[in-house]
């Protein structure tokens, strides 16, 4: 118990240290440039305390419950004992041997993104200003599916050793093409959702998976090939959200074409 308290306090301190520059900039500009006292000061303070306490509880909890298990799991799933290559030659590996890694990558990418606080924040905001036209839950689901696909493909890339930039450049081309066909309202939100998917929860688990994979596969350098999963996890949600918007758009259009027909 004392241990947890101690850990909580140290995380609380480091959260305070991270938040300090943000608070400093806000207070400085509010008081010296805008030159007005904060309205609703008490509520803002309470909210800020909630945010800081919430982040600290969240981080300590992740550290206690998820990260150790997730990291060990990533290591075990990628270890040669678990994989048991289908051939005797230890040098040649088949990408099919790592099927459980792709499945794990997809599942963990999906689940952690759904719990990512920054994404929840953006989704709440999007639902508010679109007056409910965009549902926070659907947006988060679309982003999570994108991340899940991205991580699975990213682990496949580490196993096969195909160059990272080939995937990324192809991804960019797909995103650009989608941009021209997607409803204009969604484009900004879609691009933003790429950046917010990977933070507190996803990065540590996904990094552990990438490094574990790269260090266990002959011919891969963990320092070089272990990176790149985050890039996948930030690219694919853009496609997923654009696709979701196109699909929703198509559904509405189809129903508006159908409705007058019924009237006739």
């Amino acid at each position: 118990m004392i241990n947890i308290l101690h850990e909580f306090l140290s995380v609380l301190l480091s959260t305070l240290r991270d938040v300090f520059p943000i608070i400093f900039i806000i207070v400085f500009f509010q008081l010296f440039i805008i030159r007005r006292a904060f309205s609703n000061f008490k509520s803002l303070m309470i909210g800020m305390i909630y945010v800081i306490l919430g982040m600290s509880f969240f981080l300590v909890g992740l550290d206690k419950a998820l990260f150790p298990l997730g990291a060990v799991m990533a290591e075990q799933l990628t270890s040669p004992e678990f994989i048991q290559p289908s051939t005797d030659q230890s040098i040649s590996i088949h990408w099919q041997d790592y099927m459980w890694v792709y499945i794990f990558g997809a599942c963990i990418g999906f689940a952690t993104t759904l719990a990512e606080p920054a994404l929840i924040a953006v989704a709440i905001k999007a639902e508010q200003i679109s007056a409910g036209g965009i549902k926070a839950w659907y947006l988060r689901l679309a982003v999570s599916i994108g991340v899940s696909f991205g991580i699975a493909l990213g682990t496949y890339r580490i196993v096969t050793g195909i160059d990272l930039y080939l995937f990324i450049i192809t991804g960019y081309i797909v995103v650009i093409i989608q941009t021209f066909y997607a409803p204009k309202l969604i484009v900004g939100l879609a691009y933003d959702s790429g950046g917010v998917t990977t933070s507190t929860v996803t990065v540590p688990l996904v990094t552990a998976l990438g490094i574990g994979l790269a260090s266990n596969i002959p011919g891969r350098d963990p320092l070089l090939d272990g990176f790149g999963l985050i890039a996948f996890a930030s690219l694919f949600p853009i496609m997923a959200v654009l696709a979701y918007a196109q699909f929703a758009d198509w559904l509405t259009r189809r129903s508006t074409i159908n409705t007058p027909d019924k009237g006739n």
Binding site: Y50, L77, C107, A111, L224
Partner: protein
């Protein structure tokens, strides 16, 4: 009030449930290992759920209103220069201290030292990591500043994103191989959980305060810039050093 918080707790629990299920299923059925340290895990789960619920409650009370009221105040004050200085400092200040970035920068320094790009001494590695951090922080500051100009002018987002992508592709062709993975990843790690709601509220607030702008089409996009520019700047950093 009490009731709302209980509801939030339940919501947070269901948000986190998929992670618990994935970890549990893989541990017990695929890897066939026992679940270690059950007390620690239970306490951890309670903490995570409580933390997420508190964070979301606090978000709507503090980060969202702060970002929005400041956006309105700047729009009313009609001082473009101060708004841009604010945008840059917010991006720069929040990124320079970002723990995820510090970790990535240290990792990058180690790779650079092993690749023989810099000397393998502690001070050289520290300098390299520090330089990288400030490069990324500067690029995020620049991104938020550019994004704010875009909202004010009402330029379509993809006019800037597509050249950004082209920039990334061109830089990839010239940057040393060792830096590419880190550069691509640095785009994703720069925007922290506390910065995102604040910056989003700022963008949406600006787009609502300026007449002729739509908060939906013009308000989003700041985070997108903040994850694109670090890639370009980090590759440039790798090429120069």
């Amino acid at each position: 009030m009490k009731n709302k918080f209980v509801q939030q707790l339940l919501g947070s629990f269901s948000d986190l449930l998929p992670i618990f299920v994935v970890i549990f299923v893989f541990q017990v059925f695929i890897l066939r290992q026992p679940v270690p340290n059950l007390t620690d895990i239970t306490i951890g789960i309670i903490f995570v759920v409580l933390g997420l619920a508190l964070f979301i409650q606090g978000l709507e009370k503090s980060l969202f209103p702060i970002g929005e009221t400041m956006a309105y105040a700047f729009a009313k004050k009609n001082s473009l220069l101060w708004l841009l200085i604010f945008a840059f400092s917010l991006g720069f200040g929040t990124t320079a201290a970002e723990p995820a970035l510090i970790a990535v920068a240290d990792e990058a320094a180690r790779i650079a030292a092993e690749g023989g790009m810099i000397g393998n001494t502690l001070s050289e590695k520290n300098n390299y990591a520090l330089g990288l951090r400030f490069t990324v922080a500067f690029s995020v500051g620049f991104a938020i500043l550019l994004g704010v100009i875009r909202i004010i002018r009402g330029w379509p987002l993809h006019y800037l994103i597509i050249p950004g992508y082209i920039g990334v592709v061109i830089m990839t062709a010239f940057a040393p191989d060792t830096i590419i993975g880190i550069a691509y990843d640095s785009g994703g790690v720069t925007t922290s959980t506390i910065t995102v709601p604040l910056v989003t509220a700022l963008g949406v607030g600006l787009a609502s305060a300026i007449s002729g702008r739509n908060p939906m089409t013009d308000g989003f996009g700041l985070i997108a810039f903040a994850s694109l520019t670090p890639m370009i700047f980090v590759m440039a950093y790798g090429m120069i050093l």
